[in-house]
């Protein structure tokens, strides 16, 4: 988290706790890009990601007095944002299309050269996943939730969480290989 020289994270924290609008804006300026990247992983597109970001900041400013300094402030903000994203996903659950899990999906076997894969490309791949896959993928792989926690949070079974994760992983691997294949056709095989 980059900070302007004039404000330390403690200044911002205290200012925001006091409801100082200028400090709130500073905090937003310094943290929003990182938190939007979080939202982008959970939302299907940028528009929804920004909606979640907006809701998340409102919540951060409302709950900032509850932050007691245990764990990093950035980590706390991230958690608030992730919770907002999950909440938003659950709200939209009714409109979701359910993607059936295909049996006997062929596991691709290939090496990965992540250094050549841009974050934006990866983000695009994740956003293209079906909603359920994307949420489970993010919660488990990036945020480190257990399958049990995911099951409770999303109101699904642990088994469903596991199968959605492996499916999401498989799709991502396949897509990454495709992408690499188009760039380095000679290396694949």
């Amino acid at each position: 988290m980059k900070l302007t020289p004039s404000y330390t994270i403690n200044d911002l924290l205290e200012g925001c706790k006091a409801g100082d609008r200028k400090m709130q804006e500073q905090l937003y300026r310094q943290t929003s890009a990182k938190l939007l990247a979080v939202c982008m992983r959970y939302a299907p597109d940028r528009m929804e990601a920004e909606d979640v970001l907006q809701l998340g900041y409102i919540k951060i400013f409302q709950k900032i007095r509850e932050y007691r300094g245990d764990g990093s402030f950035e980590g706390w903000m991230r958690r608030v944002m992730v919770n907002c994203a999950i909440e938003s996903y659950r709200r939209n659950l009714r409109t979701l299309t359910i993607v059936p899990i295909e049996e006997g999906y062929e596991q691709p076997s290939a090496g990965f050269d992540f250094s050549r894969l841009g974050m934006q490309d990866l983000l695009g791949l994740i956003q293209n996943l079906a909603d359920g896959y994307r949420i489970v993928f993010n919660m488990y792989i990036i945020e480190g939730y257990s399958h049990k926690e995911i099951a409770v949070n999303l109101g699904i079974s642990e088994g469903a969480s596991k199968s959605q994760l492996s499916r999401a992983r498989a799709i991502l691997k396949e897509e990454i290989i495709k992408m690499e294949g188009s760039n380095y056709a000679t290396h694949t095989g």
Partner: protein
């Protein structure tokens, strides 16, 4: 090319997103700021409402509770109530409230024709049989401020007189007395609680003090079992026995 294990794959993805940043749209802060500014407006009226209710409740309590002090700060209303109390104690215990018990009715009588006016619920039934009741009602210059039932006191007809004779063992108060009462009540001809007060609906309770008066008015307005405010009037001290204003609620009757 070697296989990549799931946990390695996961770790690579985690690393990829560890420091990921995406710049939000330029106007997003402005939207957040607007929403932040809206919040207090939505929250405050609730508190203001609660505060207003509390203030109203307290001032009601202060105004209405100390009936013992009525003598010190006499209002027109108090005067009327007082006169009514004397009358009730002195002369009448009949089934139907007499004219004396109803200063307002007496006043109306004087204003209209000077004739003796019948009173009580019997009149209402008689009224229904009168074909010209409506036109007579319209002619009455007090009609604008009086409930219909009150005006029935003004109509003289054989039927009501008969009914009155049947229901009223004692003669109604003499006109002279009525006149005195009328002058006492002159101040409150329109829209005052006293007017509603005398609109008897058949109960035989007389209004002896401020507590009775309030109970009566509340009874008219608030039909629920738990009245908004209720006084105990038997002891002539009019102590507050029940209050039901949203969050402020008590009822001493229930504890007995």
């Amino acid at each position: 090319m070697q296989h990549i294990r799931d946990n390695e794959f996961d770790q690579l993805l985690r690393d990829k997103f560890e420091e990921a940043e995406v710049r939000p749209s330029v106007n997003l802060w402005a939207q957040i700021e607007t929403q932040l500014a809206e919040k207090p407006k939505r929250v405050f009226p609730v508190y203001w409402m609660a505060a207003a209710i509390a203030v109203v409740a307290i001032s009601l309590g202060l105004l209405l509770y100390p009936e013992k002090n009525a003598g010190k700060r006499r209002t027109d209303m108090a005067v009327v109530a007082e006169v009514a109390r004397h009358k009730a104690a002195g002369s009448h215990k009949g089934a139907v409230p007499s004219a004396a018990e109803q200063p307002e009715a007496a006043m109306l009588k004087v204003k209209a024709t000077g004739r003796q006016a019948p009173s009580g619920p019997a009149v209402s039934t008689a009224m229904a049989m009168l074909p010209d009741a409506k036109s007579a009602y319209a002619k009455n210059n007090l009609s604008a401020v009086q409930p219909l039932a009150l005006n029935t006191h003004l109509y003289k007809n054989e039927l009501t007189v008969k009914q009155e004779i049947l229901n009223l063992p004692e003669p109604a108060a003499p006109d002279k007395e009525a006149l005195v009462l009328a002058s006492a009540a002159e101040g409150n001809t329109a829209g005052d609680e006293v007017i509603n007060e005398n609109d008897s609906k058949g109960d035989n309770k007389s209004i002896r003090n401020m507590g009775d008066l309030i109970n009566y008015v509340v009874d008219k307005v608030d039909k629920s079992n738990e009245k908004i405010i209720q006084f105990k009037t038997d002891d002539d001290n009019s102590s507050l026995v029940a209050l039901n204003i949203g969050i402020i609620r008590f009822n001493t009757k229930k504890h007995k």
